[in-house]
């Protein structure tokens, strides 16, 4: 197997393993499924175009995704994103016995999003990456920070998130 073929095979395996995780991180971060999908795909496009796996692949992917997101937000200030206000899924008329459950689920989701929104951006990203299974090293790489400070900051971010969510009764 040539180097290019080998890279291609490794890339495809990595894509299958990591795309859902990167999408989930971006979706949790932005609340926008379309945007999360676009950014996650583009991050993998950049990895493929790189032609070689970085030493810390997940950290590299996280950093690229965060940069793409930042760039998208910059341009979106000038753009009218009509679809941002579109609901992700329009489900028509659930049965009555599930209605309360659906409302609770929506409330819970809203509360979580509000609580996340109260965290500083770096803490929010750190928390989300941690809960995608990123190591300290990968988090540090993805967010451009010192590895040694990740643990302490994570504990603080967890505490702050917990405090914010407690006010929401969850």
């Amino acid at each position: 197997m040539s180097g290019a073929e080998s890279f291609d095979a490794v890339f495809r395996q990595l894509f299958d393993e990591q795309f859902p995780s990167l999408f989930r991180y971006l979706h949790r971060l932005t609340g926008d499924a379309d945007l999360a999908e676009d950014i996650a795909q583009e991050a993998f496009v950049k990895l493929y175009q790189r032609g070689a796996m970085p030493e810390d692949t997940r950290g590299w992917m996280g950093a690229v995704a965060n940069n793409l997101l930042r760039d998208d937000r910059r341009t979106s200030k000038r753009r009218l994103r009509l679809l941002a206000s579109q609901p992700e899924d329009l489900s028509a008329g659930g049965s009555p016995e599930f209605a309360d459950e659906a409302v609770l689920s929506d409330e819970r989701r809203d509360a979580v999003r509000v609580a996340l929104g109260r965290l500083p951006e770096r803490d929010r990203k750190m928390l989300l990456l941690r809960h995608e299974g990123y190591s300290y090293r990968e988090i540090a790489h993805a967010l451009g920070m010192a590895e040694r400070s990740v643990g302490t900051l994570l504990i603080r971010a967890t505490r702050a998130f917990q405090a914010a969510i407690t006010g929401k009764g969850l």
């Binding site: 291609d8 890339f11 495809r12 894509f15 795309f19 859902p20 999408f23 989930r24 979706h27 949790r28 609340g31 499924a33 379309d34 999908e37 676009d38 996650a40 795909q41 583009e42 993998f44 496009v45 493929y48 175009q49 793409l68 760039d71 998208d72 910059r74 341009t75 000038r78 753009r79 009218l80 994103r81 009509l82 679809l83 579109q86 609901p87 992700e88 899924d89 329009l90 689920s105 819970r108 989701r109 979580v112 999003r113 928390l127 989300l128 941690r130 809960h131 190591s135 300290y136 040694r148 990740v150 643990g151 302490t152 994570l154 504990i155 603080r156 967890t158 505490r159 998130f161 917990q162």
Partner: protein, 261 residues
């Protein structure tokens, strides 16, 4: 009491607790000390339990946000990466495209609105490859069928994405219809509008209050419509298209633009 024993007496710090909770098994020395300490320290044992519980609770709460990941295939990403861009792959760097198209519209709008005979205007016309002001306003790209009874407009087979740029700042409407096949068209009964077309772009100098009919192939997921200097539509989303396969976009300055079914 040796040094290790003395060390074990120290209460655990936040960083140590974090290592044990977040990366179990990776920091053996720290873990050993923490375990030795919490075995005899109720306060630190409780603290560690609280941190663990908080961590689990956060994981549970974050899961409430999740939706299933899209069924994106590695093939479509690889094709995009190597520049094949299969139709409907839906992988586009929106920031890069937006920046490029915005630059284009800034130049084009100034030229079109100001001096149609200026060198800048001619340059734009050349850049789009076909037509000049005053030429017939209907064109079809090679290999593209143009219905005989069709009103004036343009007919093309876009590669993988399509930018439609309305240069004017006047109100108007675009009725969008999603169709099967590979052909796109933009037509209007209004004969005063002028079009420039390339494989992935349509530039329109529209008459005031003109109404357009835009048909787009279902497989063309990435469509940018620019009106009044702003990006009005950036992709075809299932909730926008709806069951009818059609929707309408008002042409006006940004902020007053909303699609409707």
């Amino acid at each position: 009491m040796n040094l290790d024993e003395k060390h074990h007496l120290l209460h655990i710090g936040t960083a140590e607790a974090a290592f044990v909770i977040h990366e179990p098994g990776l920091h053996a020395r720290i873990e050993k000390r923490v375990n030795a300490h919490v075995a005899g320290c109720e306060k630190c044992s409780t603290l560690l339990r609280v941190h663990r519980a908080q961590d689990r609770k956060v994981a549970e709460l974050l899961a409430a946000l999740d939706i299933p990941a899209p069924a994106t295939q590695a093939n479509s990403v690889v094709a995009r990466a190597i520049g094949e861009l299969p139709t409907g792959a839906g992988v586009v760097s929106r920031g890069r495209r937006a920046a490029a198209a915005l630059a284009l519209i800034s130049v084009a709008a100034v030229a079109a609105a100001a001096l149609p005979a200026s060198p800048l205007h001619r340059l734009i016309v050349r850049a789009f490859g076909t037509g000049t002001s005053g030429q017939p306003t209907t064109s079809a790209r090679p290999g593209v069928a143009r219905p005989q009874s069709a009103p004036p407009g343009v007919f093309l087979k876009p590669d993988s994405s399509l930018d439609i740029v309305f240069l004017g700042y006047d109100a108007g409407l675009v009725h969008v219809r999603i169709v099967d096949g590979t052909q796109a068209s933009l037509t209007s009964a209004d004969t005063g509008s002028k079009y420039r077309v390339s494989n992935d772009r349509i530039l329109v100098e529209q008459s005031p209050r003109a109404t357009f009919d835009l048909t787009l192939p279902r497989s063309l997921r990435v469509v940018h419509i620019w009106a009044g200097g702003e990006l009005t539509l950036d992709r075809l989303h299932r909730s926008l298209i709806g069951d009818t396969g059609s929707f309408t976009i008002p042409l006006s300055r940004a902020g007053s633009t909303k699609p409707s079914h």
